[in-house]
């Protein structure tokens, strides 16, 4: 088994695990965490694809590697905005839940 396949399996497990957590955890912060797990899994798949595409003296295809950097920055921005919304909700209501009150 090549290391690309090994980490490919790892990425697949992370996506599934994150998806499970996103659906089942009631706390929004845990959902945000789960979203980051799925993200890591997806980014790792970019890494696997990049590693498979090693050529021209590069250890990996630079295009998917660059895309991951963009993706990581976007994921951080998403996390920051989600956390800000969650903390504001907590300030306003004293609770941090997505369940509807009515």
């Amino acid at each position: 088994m090549s290391i690309a396949i090994l980490y490919g399996l790892c990425s697949a497990v992370l996506v599934g695990l994150g998806l499970f957590a996103l659906i089942t955890h009631p706390q929004p912060l845990r959902k945000i965490l789960a979203f980051n797990l799925i993200g890591s899994g997806v980014f790792l798949l970019f890494g696997v694809v990049a590693h498979n595409g090693a050529a021209a003296g590069f250890g990996g295809d630079p295009v998917p590697q660059a895309l991951v950097i963009t993706g990581l920055v976007v994921a951080f921005a998403s996390t920051a905005l989600a956390v800000a919304l969650l903390l504001r909700l907590f300030q306003e209501t004293g609770r941090a839940t997505l369940q509807s009150d009515d």
Binding site: F35, I38, V42, L45, G71, V74, A82, L85, T93
Partner: protein, 502 residues
Amino acid sequence: MIEPLLMPGSATAGGFLLVLAVVLPVLGVLLSLALGGRHAERIALILMPAGLAVAGATTAAVWRTRAVLQYFVGGWYPPLGVAFRADGLSAVMMLVTGLLICGIGLFARVQFASPEQGEGRAPFAFWTLLLAIWGGLNAVFLGGDLFNLYVALELLTFAAVPLVSLDGRAETIKAALRYLLFALLGSILYLLGAVLFYGAYGALAIVILSGRVRAEPVAWAAIALMTAGLLAKAALYPFHLWLPPAHAGAPAPASAILSGLVVKAPFFLVVRLWFDVMPGQPQQAAAQILGTLGAAAILFGSVVALRQARLKLLIAYSTVAQIGYLFLMFPLAVKPVTGHPWSTFAWTGGVVQAISHAVAKAAMFLAAGLIAEALGHDRIARLAGIGRALPVTVLAFGLGGLSLMGLPPSGGFVAKAMLLSAAVSEGQWWWAVVVLTGGLLAAGYVFLVLARSLADPVEPLRLSATISPGRQAVVLALALCAVLLGFVPLRPLELLQIGRPV
């Protein structure tokens, strides 16, 4: 096959218009942020006609040359570089977006007027985010690269979510958070599909992929994941849960943008994926699933809309239903029926539905905003008398409603008639039943509102705010546009076919 070469200046004539369409609003965001205060509003108002002119010029160029406009950003050809492309569909979507942004912007001047001194939170955020949404939408309509489209979708998400919670009430913050979580899940699924495409075919450019994609599991998985992600963003049943509180809770101009335009972007990308990336694949079974979800959305959304006590929630549930119509396009237009004359008819019907719903729904949300402002509430049971107090606004609501019901003359009638004829002619009559039932239900909830509005109040109506004729005129103008779409003869619809793979 297109080879990557550094070859500056190799875009089609008029290709720079595509750059302008994205760059102008985005530069406006930067300027608003730098100058702040009253300038955010001024910059938006100055850029509105300029952006509309760019959209108009793009449409004219596509129509004149009968060809796709292209621009290779940085002079780099795909697969290494990123291309912007405008076909007939992109041009039309840009034009409609430009018109709606201008209308909604004019309307919002009162609600989001900048303070004389200093900077107001809500006005600053609204005008800056409005420009960002415009830039994001144009980037989606013009994007020719799956990853660039991902960034464009994120731009749109980050501009759209804060609009929901602009007035700061706790329930709108909750709605915004829920919307964000759905949108993020959608983005990450989309990205997962994109990397599968790259891993299998070594490209992200739609033109290149369409030549390389074969009928095999990796392509099916990629398109399924991307479609699922986009459905979550488009709020197609059963992913609709986030939409009603978000669209109903936002301030009226924001609701108009979100319901009219923002949810159309993921739909647009599903159309791109299914008709441009995967031409010639056996997808009829999957298309039936999309159609079934669409039908469920129409029936569920309309029935729930009928039971709403608040006007804005009613309109939001109606959006859930009207999004359903968009997806009836797929079982009627996807292979093996592609090439069949009725397939083009169904495809065009879906697109016309996207446009006419955008215009009609924007008018209706703005009308609801004026009604709520005048009454101080939007309880449907207590609307009596508003028809006499704000006749123009209620008329505009009714005219928008024509489009939702699919009655002539309106854009909605054209769209639904096209879907209906395609369904009957292709022998898929069950979709026709759904279209007709949805129309009846829409008639139900629109007439419910109109009947209450036109009733005589038990006690004299006391308005908590006076509404300027100017704002009512903007709403009526948008509603009239929705009606006028019904008079567009079929010839201009040829514009939509430019650049469409057959």
